[in-house]
């Protein structure tokens, strides 16, 4: 995510902004499927503030872990992310809790996002002889398919926000309309795209991406300029409340080495 560590000129970096916005989406008593990086930091932050009974679940088979300051994990399958968990189990069983419906919120990233919220983390170019072979789905496809509400967290750049992803690794609203449901995905949806420029959602009928809020100091036109397809932009776009001093202090205290925050 190039540019994520750049200061926004407002006293916080883009990655700090993403972390705070993600944390705000989490609510007390919810279960959240969190990958490493900013989503994990956001979840820990939420638990330390407004959502003390937030249940963090990690695909490596880890339920309700705590973190050791200065030992932020690199993967979803290691002792750093398992510290003081209340349950450790197998990976497949962990995803099956999501398939049954126990996981309320999921976060994913991705190299490309399209106007229907589909995400590509597999290939740029054709699948069999790709121009760029990306790492692959990991759990992203499962999270977007099985969790109740899914947030895509990403930097906002025109090369990422493409009209149609080269490969649908993780299906958002597929071809729009009812096509996600018609494919067999009755549950879960991409509820929000959280970027360094604003918050985006999806039209209720067409399921095309629309701007729902801009972050402080950002104009709707700036968001459109950083998007490779035409966004639905309402006439009156609200501005998000800026990260508070308390939020930033807490977030920074969780990553003193700025491993995730840059």
């Amino acid at each position: 995510m190039s540019g994520e560590h750049a200061d926004t000129g407002l006293g916080y970096t883009a990655s700090e902004l993403l972390g705070v916005m993600a944390a705000r989406r989490l609510y007390d008593g919810a279960s959240v499927f969190a990958g490493v990086g900013l989503p994990l930091l956001a979840a820990v932050m939420a638990r330390k503030s407004h959502a003390p009974r937030l249940m963090i679940v990690v695909e490596g088979g880890v339920f309700d872990p705590e973190m050791l300051t200065g030992r932020l994990p690199i993967s979803t399958n290691e002792m750093r992310i398992a510290h003081r968990a209340t349950m450790l189990t197998s990976i497949t069983d962990t995803f099956l809790y999501a398939q049954r419906g126990f996981l309320d919120v999921g976060f994913i990233g991705g190299a490309q996002v399209d106007r229907f919220g589909n995400v590509n983390s597999s290939v740029i170019g054709p699948y069999d002889r790709p121009k760029v072979r990306l790492p692959g789905s990991g759990g992203a496809n499962d999270i977007i398919s099985l969790c109740r509400d899914v947030m895509i967290v990403t930097m906002h750049e025109a090369r990422r926000f493409v009209p149609r992803v080269d490969f649908v690794t993780s299906p958002g609203f597929v071809q729009g309309g009812e096509s996600r449901k018609e494919a067999g995905l009755h549950f879960g949806k991409v509820s929000q795209v959280i970027t360094n420029l604003g918050l985006l959602g999806f039209d209720e009928q067409e399921r095309t991406m629309r701007l729902e809020a801009v972050h402080p100091g950002v104009t709707p036109q700036q968001v459109q300029d950083a998007t490779g397809f035409e966004l639905e932009i309402p006439s009156d776009v609200p501005t998000t409340a800026p990260p508070t001093a308390g939020e930033l202090t807490l977030l920074r205290s969780l990553d003193p080495d700025r491993r995730y925050l840059g």
Partner: protein, 322 residues
């Protein structure tokens, strides 16, 4: 074997010489149970409990034409690709980890068409192993529907016979060989795993042949004292090899943490020299040491001690977290 062919898979199990006795053997002899062209499933996950002794053995014995499967594939996949052992990988993700960026080894081999990557979602691959473990040709799931992953590995959307709803049938995966690293095993092949279990128990039941390395070889009494800790029963296992610290430079839950600096150096060499960086690693860490002990001797003792301490600290619940 055709995807999901539970009949051939069971015939293979039945055709094996029943082998309920001694399983303790050497890495060399265990490695000889793998043939060129086999589908080898690698246990553990990413840099956790990777069975490095058996990975090294496959490299030393110069296997060719392997299909390699693992849920999240790490540098063991890169070593085998650069050595020319692999025609195809079956995984949901390949890399070392986020801090090290895209895998140059993966890009070079897949983009050139030298290695085919069959990509599944993480759960999708897990259910393929589980279907194999259950002895059924497929399992239904809701994952991967509506995505382009459906076409890559051969998932089939089917109508549920009860509700009429569309579900995704993923075909059972029956690896020819599973290679696993566990905490404790006895000489009959019973295995204990501490902490998260990844997909190892499923992989072991799904495979035709199961090779295990263990941190510790313990007496059968250890299993009779803690029978509800047994993750894999002995009659599933074909060979057990003693491999203390056998998942290094990765981790073994509770015992030692991954040495991330080892991977820093490995990736730095690739960034510097491309595939030659991997070849130098192979020379030094794989082809060089003739025995497990010689390999252990390559690690800095102070680093090993530090990683053990980190492992203890991280799994000690008395150490306060946030």
């Amino acid at each position: 074997m055709k995807p999901g062919d539970f009949i051939v898979a069971r015939q293979r199990l039945e055709a094996k010489r029943r082998h309920a006795g001694e399983k303790l053997t050497s890495a060399q002899d265990a490695g000889r149970l793998v043939k060129d062209g086999d589908h080898v499933a690698v246990g553990g996950c990413l840099f956790s409990r990777t069975p490095m002794l058996l990975v090294r053995e496959l490299l030393r014995q110069q296997r060719r034409g392997l299909t390699l499967s693992r849920n999240l594939m790490c540098f063991e996949g890169e070593l085998l690709m650069v050595a020319g052992a692999v025609d195809q990988i079956v995984t949901s993700w390949q890399g070392i980890g986020l801090p090290w960026g895209l895998s140059r080894v993966l890009r070079e081999h897949v983009e050139s068409g030298r290695v085919r990557m069959e990509e599944w979602s993480h759960l999708g691959l897990g259910l393929r192993y589980r279907a194999g473990a259950m002895g059924v040709p497929f399992l239904p799931t809701l994952t991967m529907l509506g995505s382009d992953l459906m076409d890559v590995g051969g998932s089939r959307p089917i109508a549920c016979p009860f509700t009429g709803e569309t579900v995704n049938a993923v075909p059972a995966l029956f690896p020819d060989v599973a290679i696993l690293h566990v905490h404790r095993a006895d000489r009959h092949g019973n295995c204990q795993i501490d902490g998260y279990t990844h997909m190892d128990a499923d992989i072991a039941r799904a495979a035709s042949t199961v090779l295990v390395t263990a941190e510790e070889i313990v007496d059968e009494e250890e299993f009779r004292h803690h029978p509800d800790r047994t993750a894999i029963p002995g009659f599933v296992v074909d060979a057990v090899v003693h491999a203390p610290l056998g998942a290094m430079p990765g981790e073994c839950y509770g015992l030692y943490e991954t040495d991330f600096e080892h991977f820093d150096r490995y990736v730095a060499a690739i960034n510097d020299k491309g595939m030659d960086g991997v070849r130098e690693y192979l020379d030094r860490w794989v082809y060089g040491p003739a025995t497990h002990q010689e390999w252990l001797n390559l690690f800095d003792p102070a680093t090993v001690e530090r990683q053990r301490r980190f492992g203890r600290e991280l799994t000690n619940p008395e150490v306060a977290g946030v």
